[in-house]
Symmetry: none
């Protein structure tokens, strides 16, 4: 972070940045296809069209590369999309529905990669930390969402309610993006919106 020994290069030139991005994209691909443990440096380098040597001049190791992809994912998708979500205080059911939709959109369009992240969440502390951070965002968002309806709420403990709502949405979204058929998706989201709406307000 400070200027101390600079092992991996911070790319300044345009070509360099492009190379790094190519590696990131290729790695995301590979991780999604074969998982973290099922992907090796040679494959990533080959898929990115660079040499292993180059690979290691951009990333300290496979793990760092993984974390960089993951962090990028968090920033790009979650923070940005969640940040933009707006609430209509007069239409609560619709607002709940839109909350779910926003969280669904915030999910990786790359579900296979998400799958892998979930896998590592449980076995790697660093991944878990990043995950927790991401969850905090999500949780905070839901909390703020609920708070906007403060005086119309059936629940008293907003923090707990937010965790429950968050968890339910997360899991349904997960099952939709990873295993779900599209036909089911709409019914599930509708049902979920009903459940949350009734829980919070009805």
């Amino acid at each position: 972070m400070t200027e101390m020994e600079q092992k991996t290069r911070i790319p300044q030139q345009k070509r360099s940045i492009e190379t790094k991005n190519r590696i990131l994209a290729a790695a995301k691909d590979q991780f999604a296809k074969n998982g973290f443990h099922g992907t090796n440096a040679k494959e990533i380098a080959a898929a990115a069209g660079v040499s292993v040597g180059s690979f290691y001049s951009y990333f300290k190791d496979k793990k760092e590369l993984f974390m960089e992809i993951f962090r990028e994912h968090i920033e790009e998708k979650v923070v940005r999309i969640l940040g933009e979500h707006q609430v209509d205080p007069d239409n609560r059911r619709e607002s709940v529905y839109r909350l779910i939709k926003a969280m669904l959109d915030a999910h990786d369009p790359y579900p296979q990669f998400h799958r892998e992240v979930l896998a590592m969440r449980y076995s790697d502390p660093e991944v878990e930390a990043a995950f927790t951070e991401m969850d905090q965002h999500s949780l905070g968002h839901v909390e703020r969402f609920i708070e906007q309806f403060r005086d119309k709420l059936r629940v008293k403990d907003i923090k707990t309610a937010a965790r429950i709502v968050s968890a339910a949405v997360e899991e349904i979204i997960c099952s939709i993006t990873i295993f779900g058929q599209d036909e089911d998706a709409d019914r599930l989201i509708d049902g979920l919106a009903d459940m949350i709406h009734r829980y919070l307000f009805d």
Copy 2:
């Protein structure tokens, strides 16, 4: 002798059964502590107090051992406990609460191992298959639960409702057993029971 080509030993003698169980127990420990990829055959054998040779005479490989532990988990816990759960049709809120409790009990008392299973669910098809099977049990259980209140329901599509309820419960349970502090647990379960109760009946 009579069986054709028996690659892995099927233990008959008491000593043999004990050895196999020692390996199973030790492996569960190790997987929970260090994850599937972070555990190797030698370590498992050492932890079980047996030789690598013994390990491989009982299990084709690490994967098979893992699956055996997981299947045992499914049978012992899920099927048995879920099977026993009884419903009180006059007290719906209480019934929901007891459903959640039953599903919580059905979870592994070995949360670290559960954590690892979750990790593999997403990267290994065989694990996912077993997981799906387990989910079907859970889903079926929830479906039957809901059906018992058929004429008092607010929801029409029982199958979809069951999936939503299942998912919500699963995720909350997960966050309780893995990350949750005990203080939170009760509030979460109560809130969850409220949510489901309101969704289905209120």
Copy 3:
């Protein structure tokens, strides 16, 4: 050999001898099918219907078992059959033909095992020694055969002639028993008989 430490049992009782023979037969089978390196003690024991433990109480190791089978082969087949071969001094061409036939008969009816012995001949000194001994028998036999026609011979150096004839017969027999089709066999033997006959007498 002397009474010194008796590691492997010398079977006295009938049942014991039978067991040992069962192991020998099973091993010959396995060696023929999968080769020395492709056969393990467990398989041999299983094929013989005994335990590995028993196996090792009859044979010091796999190698000793192999040598025992090989020596038995030499004694039973080679010595016995070659010993019985008779010559008709008035019909030389016919005698040559009968010599070849006798040597063909002396070959293992178990060509796959012979194949394996050949393989080991080149990589194991002990096998080579036994093989050489066997060759000496064969060579001696051919020498005595040639000597019976001493005054009618075209060749002077009988020892060398015997080696040449021996080698030629060996190789043709080998190609017949291992690779040859039966249709070819007769023509080859006839041609071989011609060649040897012309070489020695014609």
Copy 4:
């Protein structure tokens, strides 16, 4: 890079080619000294002065390495030398003698390796296939040799005669290169030339 999934490296650079050749040479040595089963990857790598990793980046496994050495042997020696052998139709005995000499030259100057190849011929189908191919060359050569004397022949069936002559030469050569003392060699070759000469023409 452009090629799909290249498992073992195809050496382009000079350094790389040298390394591969060092491994090939060292392996030939080791196989000759200790046989195929008596040699392991680590030893070969050490003898070649490279790491095991390098070994496996050039060869899928020990077997592939072995086959590569063997095929090289066939091409370099057999095809080339046999191809060059010329016949003098007016001096038949001398031609036979030169045939034998040519076939002797075509044999590996590395008799210990040849020994090992023979060993594997009988237990490994792939080796046998290559061997058969090599034999076909040899057989074809002998057939063409005999055909050049067509009208002076005592034998009618040239194909059968070629097999017999081939076999006899092969075996004598074998016994000369592997077991034979040099003193014997000349006498054996002379006798062999006599035998074949008499068989074909005399």
